[in-house]
Amino acid sequence: MQDEIDSPQHHVDSAGTYVAVLVTLLFLTILTTAVAYVDLGYFSTVIALGIACTKMLLVALFFMHIRHSTKLTKLVVVGGLLWLAILLLLTLTDFATRTWIGVPGR
C-alpha cells in the first residue's frame, strides 16, 4: 500500500499494436535463421544473441505489458537479469581463467 502504484494496468493496447509486434517477431525469426548460414566468425553468436535479446524485449515490453508496469515490476525484472549475470560471469571467472595462473601438481 505504501509503494506508489504509479500506473495501474488500465491501459488497453490496440490490436494493431500487437499485430505489428507479431510481424516484427516473425521477421526477426526468419532473419536470425538466414544469417546463421553466413560465416561471420565470432559475430555469428553476437548477432544471434542480439536478435534474441531484441525479441525478448519486444515480448516483454508489449505482450507482457512491461511498458505499462509499475517501477517495482521493472526493478524485479532488471534485478533478476542481474542475478543471472552474476551466475554466468562468476562461473566463467573460473572456467575462462584456468590457464592464467599455474598451480604445481595440476
Partner: protein, 539 residues
Amino acid sequence: MQLTAEREHYLNASYGLKSWLLTKDHKRIGLLYLFTITLFFFIGGAFATLIRLELLTPQGDLVSDDVYNRLFTMHAIAMIFFFMIPSIPAVLGNFFLPIMIGARDLAFPRINLLSWYLLVAGGAFALFAMIAGGVDTGWTFYTPYSTTYANGWVIATALGIFIAGFSSILTGLNFIVTVHRMRAPGMTWFRMPLFVWANYATSLIQILGTPVLAVTIVLLFVERVFHLGIFDPARGGDPVLFQHLFWFYSHPAVYIMVLPGMGVISEVISTFSRKPVFGYAFVAFSSVAIAVLGFLVWGHHLFVSTQSAFAGLVFSFLSYFVAIPSAIKVFNWTATLYKGSISFETPMLYAFGFIGLFTIGGLTGLFLAALGIDIHVTDTYFVVAHFHYVMVGGTIMAFLAGMHFWWPKITGRMYPEGWAKLSALIVFVGFNLTFFPQFILGYMGMPRRYHAYPPEFQVLNVLSTAGASVLAIGYLMPMVYFTWSLKYGKVAGANPWGATGLEWKTASPPPVHNFDETPIVTHDAYDYSTVHGEEIQVG
C-alpha cells in the same frame, strides 16, 4: 488481563483436524511448520547422537564406515533442508511478519498453505529414503559419485530436497509481495521492525538461489536416471561445474539460515535493553548487503578443486566483504546495550549466546576465506566446528530466543522463567563443550567424514561427545516446559515484555485477522515512549 475464556482468537475460532489442515491463517500455518521442523530436528538429532557415539572411541566399532557415511549425510539433510532453512522464516516469520507490518494475512494465504504441504511432501521423500537405507553421498551430492557410483537412495532424497525447495521459494515469494504491498497505513520501510527486514532479505535469497539448486538436482537426476552426461568426466563433462551450481545456492543458503536469526536478535536486544537498535538503517541495510554479497563468494568452497587459481583469488577477496555487514550487526547490537536498561530474561540470554557464538563462527569463517589457511584445514573438523558455530550457535540460539520471546504471544501463556534460564545455560555450556574441541581437532588435522581416527585425538573427541549429551538435555528441556506451560503457564497479557512491535499491540493470542481494526502507525520501530508503563511486568 482480559477474560480469555470469552474472547475469540486464532486458536479457538474453529476446532478439529480439518480446520488446521485446510487453514489459510498464517498463524496456524506457522504452527504446522513448527510441528514439522521439530520432528526433523529430533530425527537429525538422533543421527547426530549416533555420530558422536561412534566417535567416542578411535576404532570404528559402533557402526561400519558405510553406515557412518549415511549417518552424517542424513544428519545434514534433515537438519539443513527440513529444519534450519524453514525454521525461523516459516515458523516465526510466517506467524509474525504479517502482524508486525499490520496486515491481516500474507498476500497469498493459499500458496502459504501449499508451501507447508510441499515441505511435508519433500520431507516424506527424505524420510522414506532414510528408512529404506539412506544415502551416503554427503549432503553436497558431489558428482560423479552421486550420479554414477553411489548405491544409496540418491534420487528419493534429491527429489525430497527439490520439492522442499519449492516450499522455500513460495514462502520467499509470499513474504516479498506481502512486505511490498500489504503494510498498514504509516508503516513505511524505515518504520518496519528489523525482523521484517531480515526476513525480506532472506526471501530475496530464497527466490534467487533456490531455483539454481532445483536445476542442479534436475541435471543430477537426468544424469543418474537417463544417463545424460552433463557432469560426466568420462565424456568430457566437468564435475566442478556441478560444484559451482550447487554452491551458488548452498553458500547463500547459509544466510537463509542465519539472517532471520539476526532479525530475532535485533528484536530481543532492543526489547530487553529498552533502547532503539543503534544505527537502525545500518542494521536494516546490512541484512540486504549480506543477502547480496552472499551470492558473490561461493567459489571459496572450491579452493581445493580444479577451480582456477585466479578464481580462487577473486572468491577469497570477495568473501572478506561479508565480514563488513556481519560486523556492523554485532557492533550495533553491542552499542544498543550501552547505557540500556538491561534485564536478563531467557530470550536475552539466548541473544547474548548468539552474539558470542556467531562472532566466533564468523571470525573462523575469515580463516577459511584465506586461501593458504583453507588449504590446510579443508575437510577437517575445523570446518565442521566453524559451520556449527554459525548454524547451531547462531541460528538455533536465535530460534530459541525467538521461541521464548514470542511464546506468550503465540499461546497466551508464559513459559516458566527459572527452568528456561537453566536450559539456556545448559545449551550454552553444552554447545561450547561439543564444538570448541572440534576447532582444535581440525587444526591438529583430524579429517571430517571418517568413522575412525588416530588414538591421540580421543580426549578431545570424548569431550565433544560429553558436550553433545549436555546439549541434548538443554534442547529437550524447552520441549517439556513449553508443553507444560500450555496448560499451567501464567496467563500472558498483550505485552508482557513492554516491547514496541505491532504484534504486542494486539491481544495474546491474536484474533483471526490479527487486529480488531487496522492499526495506523505513527512512530518509528523501537520507540519506547509509546509503550504504556502499566503493561511492563519485567522481572
